[in-house]
Symmetry: C2
C-alpha cells in the first residue's frame, strides 16, 4: 500500500515518487493551496497540494486535500522536493511531498479529546487507542519493547530455555490473593491464576532443564495501589546446580548489559549490602543510594538523658534510637517540621524530636532540656550536625523506627534536592528467614516458603529460627526493588521442617505442596533463581512514574478496564454452565 514511511522521507528521495500512508496530524487549507502533516509510527512529513497549471486532475487533488480532517487515514502519492522554509524541528523538515493523489482510506469523526488539552487519565484510558497514538506514548511503549527484546536476546544467547508454564493452575498458599476460575468439567472445583511460576520453575529444574526463563504474566487479586496492576509481567529465571553468587553474577551482567544497550548507561559493578546494614544505614530494604543521607544510631549518646522516649528504647533488644541529619535543614519552618512529623506518623512514628542549628549556631530543640550540656554537645557532634542543619530523631521498636526514619530520608532527599541524577543499583542480601507475626503468634516467611536457609542443618534452623538468615537476595535500583530471588530448598526434609516452622502441618503441606515434596524426593538438584519486575524496569527506563504508561491496556486502581468495560455482569445461564452463582448480598442492617 505504501513505498516509504512518512517519518523517514529524506533528501535522498528528492525527485522520486513516493506513496505514503498515515494520519492527518494537521491539515491547513489556504484556499487552493493545502498543507497536510502526514504522520505514521516513524514520524511526520509535510504534504502539499498546490495548483499546477496543465497537470490533469490537479483540481481534484486539491479538493481531496481540502476535505481532509484531523486524524483521517490517508494514502498520498506524490513527488519529494526540497522545502523552501525548512522545519528544523522534525527530521523530515528539509523536504515535502507534492501530492498527485490523495485518498481518504477512513474518515475520523471529531475526537473526544486532544492530547494537548492534557486530558485526565480516565478519558485517556477510555479512548486508549487515541492516547497510545501520541508520540510520547509510542516512545514509552517502544522502550518497553526494546527492553524485552534485549532481555530475550541476552538470555537466548546464553542457553536459557524459554518455557511456558500454565496460567490455569492450582490454588496456592497465599490463596487469599488468588484469582479463581470455575471449572466447567469439574463441578464445584476451581483453577487459580498464578501469582508467579515459582513452583513450576522449581519443578523444571528437577525435570532436568538447566537454565530456564520466561517473560511471565502473573496475577494478584488485591486492592490496587497506584503502582500495582491485577496482572503484571515478570522476567522469571531459574538455574540448576548453582549457588547464590552464580545467580547474582549472571543476572547482574544481564541488567548491566541491557541498560547499556537500551539506555546507553554504564551501571558498573553493583555494591552489595546485607539486609541488616541496609536497615541500619537507610531504614529500608530497598535503599535509594542516589540520596547521600544516612541514619545514625545514637543509643549510647542518649542513654544518660532524661528523655524517657529515648531512654525507654536505647540499648534495648528490639528497640532503636537513631538520627537523620539534613544539611541545610535549618531552613525548615515550624509548619514544615510539622509536615515531616505528619509524614513520619504515616509510617508509625508517635512524634518527631529534632535539633535545629541556625546558620549562626543557635540551637532550637524541644529535647535539649533533657540533656546535660556536655551530653547534648556530644550528641550533636556524634551525628555530625553543623550550623544550618536540622537533625530528626526516632525512637521505638526497631522495625517501626527504621521505617519512618527511612521515609523521612526519602522525603528530605527530594525536598532538599539531594537526589543525585543517574542510576544506583545494589544487591541486598542475608535477609531474615522469618518474621514473627505477633497477631498470629507464628513465623511467616520473609521471601516465600521455598527459600533455603543459610544453615544446612535442620536442628540448627529450629533452634535459631528467630535470627536465621535466608539465602534470598534482592536487586535494588534507585530505591525500587526491581528483582528478587533465592536459592531454594532442594531436600524434602528441610522443606518439611520449614513448612512446620511456618505452621503448615504435614497434612496441609501434603495437600497443597505434595507434588513439590514428591519432586524433591526423586533427584532434585540444588537450584535457585530470580524474578524481575518488567513493568517497573520499563517505567524506570521510559522515565515515567506510572507503570500504566508502559502497559498497553492497563486497569485502573479500581480494577477496571475503562476501554472495554471489564469486569461486567454475566448472564446467569452462563454462570450455571460453570456451576457457580453470584452470592446473595449479606446486608448489615
Amino acid at each position: 500500500m505504501r513505498t516509504h514511511f512518512c517519518g523517514l522521507v529524506n533528501e535522498a528521495l528528492i525527485g522520486q515518487t513516493v506513496t505514503l500512508c498515515g494520519w492527518a496530524d494537521v491539515a491547513r487549507d489556504l484556499g487552493g493551496l493545502c498543507f497536510i502533516d502526514l504522520r505514521d509510527h516513524e514520524g511526520i512529513v509535510q504534504i502539499v497540494a498546490e495548483p499546477a497549471p496543465g497537470v490533469e486532475g490537479n483540481a481534484e487533488v486539491i479538493a481531496a486535500a481540502a476535505a481532509v480532517g484531523y486524524e483521517d487515514c490517508l494514502r498520498v502519492t506524490g513527488v519529494v522536493r526540497r522545502r523552501e522554509s525548512v522545519n528544523a524541528r522534525i527530521p523530515t523538515g528539509q523536504v515535502e511531498v507534492v501530492a498527485h493523489k490523495v485518498e481518504r482510506l477512513n474518515k475520523a469523526e471529531p475526537l473526544p479529546f486532544h492530547a494537548h488539552e492534557n486530558p485526565g487519565e480516565d478519558i485517556r484510558l477510555k479512548y486508549r487507542y487515541l492516547d497510545l497514538r501520541t508520540p510520547d506514548m509510542q516512545r514509552k511503549m517502544r522502550t518497553r519493547t526494546k527492553l524485552v527484546q534485549a532481555l530475550r536476546r541476552w538470555l537466548d544467547a546464553r542457553g536459557f530455555q524459554d518455557i511456558e508454564t500454565p496460567i490455569l493452575t492450582k490454588a496456592t498458599p497465599e490463596g487469599a490473593r488468588d484469582f479463581l476460575v470455575p471449572a466447567r468439567m469439574h463441578e464445584g472445583e476451581f483453577y487459580a491464576l498464578p501469582q508467579s511460576p515459582q513452583l513450576f520453575k522449581q519443578i523444571l529444574m528437577v525435570a532436568g532443564f538447566d537454565r530456564y526463563y520466561q517473560i511471565a504474566r502473573c496475577f494478584r487479586d488485591e486492592a490496587l495501589r497506584a503502582d500495582r496492576q491485577l496482572e503484571f509481567t515478570q522476567l522469571d529465571m531459574e538455574f540448576a546446580w548453582v549457588t547464590e553468587r552464580d545467580v547474582q553474577d549472571t543476572s547482574e551482567s544481564l541488567v548491566r548489559d541491557v541498560f547499556r544497550e537500551v539506555m546507553q548507561v554504564e551501571l558498573g559493578e553493583f555494591p552489595r549490602m546485607t539486609w541488616s546494614e541496609a536497615m541500619r544505614r537507610f531504614g529500608s530494604d530497598k535503599p535509594d543510594l542516589r540520596i547521600a543521607l544516612e541514619l545514625v544510631d545514637v543509643d549510647a549518646q542518649v542513654e544518660g538523658s532524661e528523655f524517657k522516649v529515648f531512654t525507654d528504647w536505647a540499648g534495648v533488644d528490639g528497640g532503636r534510637v537513631c538520627a537523620l541529619r539534613i544539611p541545610g535543614g535549618a531552613s525548615l519552618s515550624r509548619k514544615q517540621i510539622d509536615e515531616y512529623a505528619a509524614h513520619a506518623a504515616k509510617y508509625g512514628a508517635k512524634g518527631l524530636a529534632y535539633i535545629k542549628l541556625s546558620d549562626s549556631g543557635e540551637v532550637s530543640s524541644p529535647i535539649a532540656k533533657f540533656f546535660a550540656e556536655e551530653a547534648f554537645a556530644a550528641l550533636v557532634a556524634h551525628v555530625g550536625a553543623g550550623n544550618g542543619d536540622i537533625v530528626f530523631f526516632g525512637a521505638g521498636p526497631h522495625a517501626t523506627v527504621s521505617d519512618f526514619m527511612g521515609a523521612l530520608r526519602l522525603k528530605a532527599g527530594k525536598d532538599f534536592g539531594l537526589v543525585e541524577a543517574g542510576w544506583k543499583p545494589l544487591w541486598v542480601t542475608d535477609f531474615p528467614m522469618f518474621e514473627w507475626d505477633e497477631e498470629a503468634q507464628r513465623y511467616v516467611a520473609l521471601h516465600h516458603p521455598f527459600t533455603a536457609p543459610a544453615v544446612d542443618d535442620i536442628d540448627d534452623l529450629r533452634a535459631n529460627a528467630r535470627t536465621a538468615v535466608s539465602r534470598g537476595y534482592d536487586m535494588v535500583l534507585n530505591g525500587n526493588e526491581i528483582g528478587g530471588g533465592s536459592i531454594r530448598i532442594h531436600r524434602p526434609a528441610m522443606q518439611s521442617a520449614v513448612f512446620e516452622l511456618l505452621g503448615i502441618g504435614a497434612e496441609e503441606a501434603e495437600a497443597k505442596f505434595g507434588f513439590l515434596l514428591d519432586a524433591l524426593r526423586y533427584g532434585a538438584p540444588p537450584h535457585g533463581g530470580i524474578a524481575f519486575g518488567v513493568d517497573r524496569i520499563a517505567a524506570l527506563m521510559a522515565g515515567t512514574e506510572s507503570i500504566r504508561d508502559v502497559i498497553a491496556f492497563p486497569k485502573t486502581t479500581s480494577a477496571q478496564c475503562l476501554m472495554t468495560g471489564a469486569p461486567s455482569p454475566v448472564p446467569d445461564a452462563q454462570l450455571a454452565e460453570v456451576h457457580v452463582a453470584v452470592r446473595p448480598r449479606v446486608r448489615n442492617d
Copy 2:
C-alpha cells in the same frame, strides 16, 4: 559448582581436572571398582572410581561411588582420560573421568516408574518432572524453544513490536466458551480469559502501532479433543496499512525461514488454492497435499443412471456426487470396505458405493446394475480407474459429501502408504463470508465477525450474503491448519452491517463491541493479520502427534493437571470474598 557439562567432556580435556554435576543415569559397583554414567542436559559421560595405590582418600571415593543410586544428584571432580573400551553410541564415548571426589548433593528415592517400561500417559503426567527428564522429552521441548526463538528473532529484526495484551478481559461474543473470573472489587461482575487477542490487536493498529506480534496465551473452555488444550499458545500478528497479499507474503517468508533454520528444510513457494477448489479436489479446507489422491466430480456421468442416491443429488444446487479412486485399492476385502464405510459414516455418509476392478479387470460393484454398460464404462474412464483399483462414491449435500470423501482420502492415503514424506504447505483463500445455520435460521461467521468481505459495498454484501466471499486465509501444512487470518473491517458502517447480518442487533453490538466501533470511528487504518498455532507447529517439528509432548505442563482431556491436582475445591470463605458460591446441584430424580 561445576567446570564443564557432562555431555560436552571430550578428548581436548584429556589430562585436565574437571568438576561435573548431574544425575546418576546408571551406577555399577563391580566390587572395589565403580562406574557411574553421569547425565546432564547436554548428555552423558562415564565416571570411574577405581583403586589407586597410594592415593589418599581413594577408598572413600570408591565407597561414595558404590553408595550411589539411580537418579541421585551428584557432583564429581576427577581427571579426564582416554577410555580403553570406546563407546561409539555417545559423543563422550572416547573418554572417561577418573573420580577424585564424589559428592551426593541429593538422594533420589526409588522412582515410581522407569522410562523404558513405557508407562501410561497418566503416570507420566503425574510425575511430569521425571518424564521431562528423559532425553526424548528434552529434545522435543528444545525443538519448541528453538521454534519460538526463531520466530521472535525474525519478527524483531523486521520491526514487529512485541506488545502484551490483557489476560483479564471482557466476555466475548462466543461467550459460551469463555473462562470466567469473579471480580473481588466488583460484586457480581466477572472478567473473562481471552480466546484470542483479536480485538486488542485491532485496537493496537488503530492506536498507531505499525506491526504487532505476541506469543500469546489463549483460552477456550470446551470439551477437550485429543488435540486441544484449555490454554494454548498462538503467534499473534497484526499489520496496519496492508492488503491480504502483504500479510501472506510476510508470514510465508517467516514460516519458510523458520523451517529452514530449525528443521533445515526448504519449503519453497507455497501453492495457493481457493476454498472452493480445496473442497472440490480434496474435500477439505485444510488439504494434506502429501497425498496424491483427489476427488473427482461425476455429476454428468451418473445423471443418466437409475441409482436414485446419485440422481437425487447430481447436478442439484447444494448437492454433490463425487468419486475417489484408490490405486491398488482392489486388494481391500469386503470387511475392509465395510471399515471404510463405517469411517465415512462417522462424517455423515449414509452408505458407500464403490467399483472394484480386479487385477485382471473383473468388475465388482453393487452399483453397476444401475448403469447402462456404456455409461458405466464412461464413468470408470472419467475417474481414471484401472485394473487393481477401487473407486468410492459419495452423494448427498455438498458439505457432507466433501467431508466424508475428504476423510476417506486421508484414510486411504495412510492405509496404502500414499503419504509422501516431507512438508507440503499451501494457502487456502477466498473462504465464504458466512455459513447458514439451519437450526438458528441465521448466518454465522466462518472466520469471525471482524473479517472483511471481498466487496466494499454494504448493499452488495447484503444482497449476496449467501455467496459472499471473505478476505480470510489459512496456512495449511501437511493437512493441519497451522495459521489463519484475514483483512479486518476498518469502517464502522461495514462492521455494523456485518453484525446485523449475523443477527447481532445494534444494542447488543454496542454493549459488546462499542469500544471497537468507537475505535473504528476515530481514524482506523486498513489492517489485517494472522495467528499461528505454536503448539501444533512445535509438535509437527518435533515429530510427535500430540501437542502435549511440547507443552511442559499440559492438562488431560478431562481438563486436569495430574501433577498439581488442579482444578480443586476451594474453601467457601474464599469464594465469599469474590462474591460467588458453588451452585446447588440440580437433581434429576
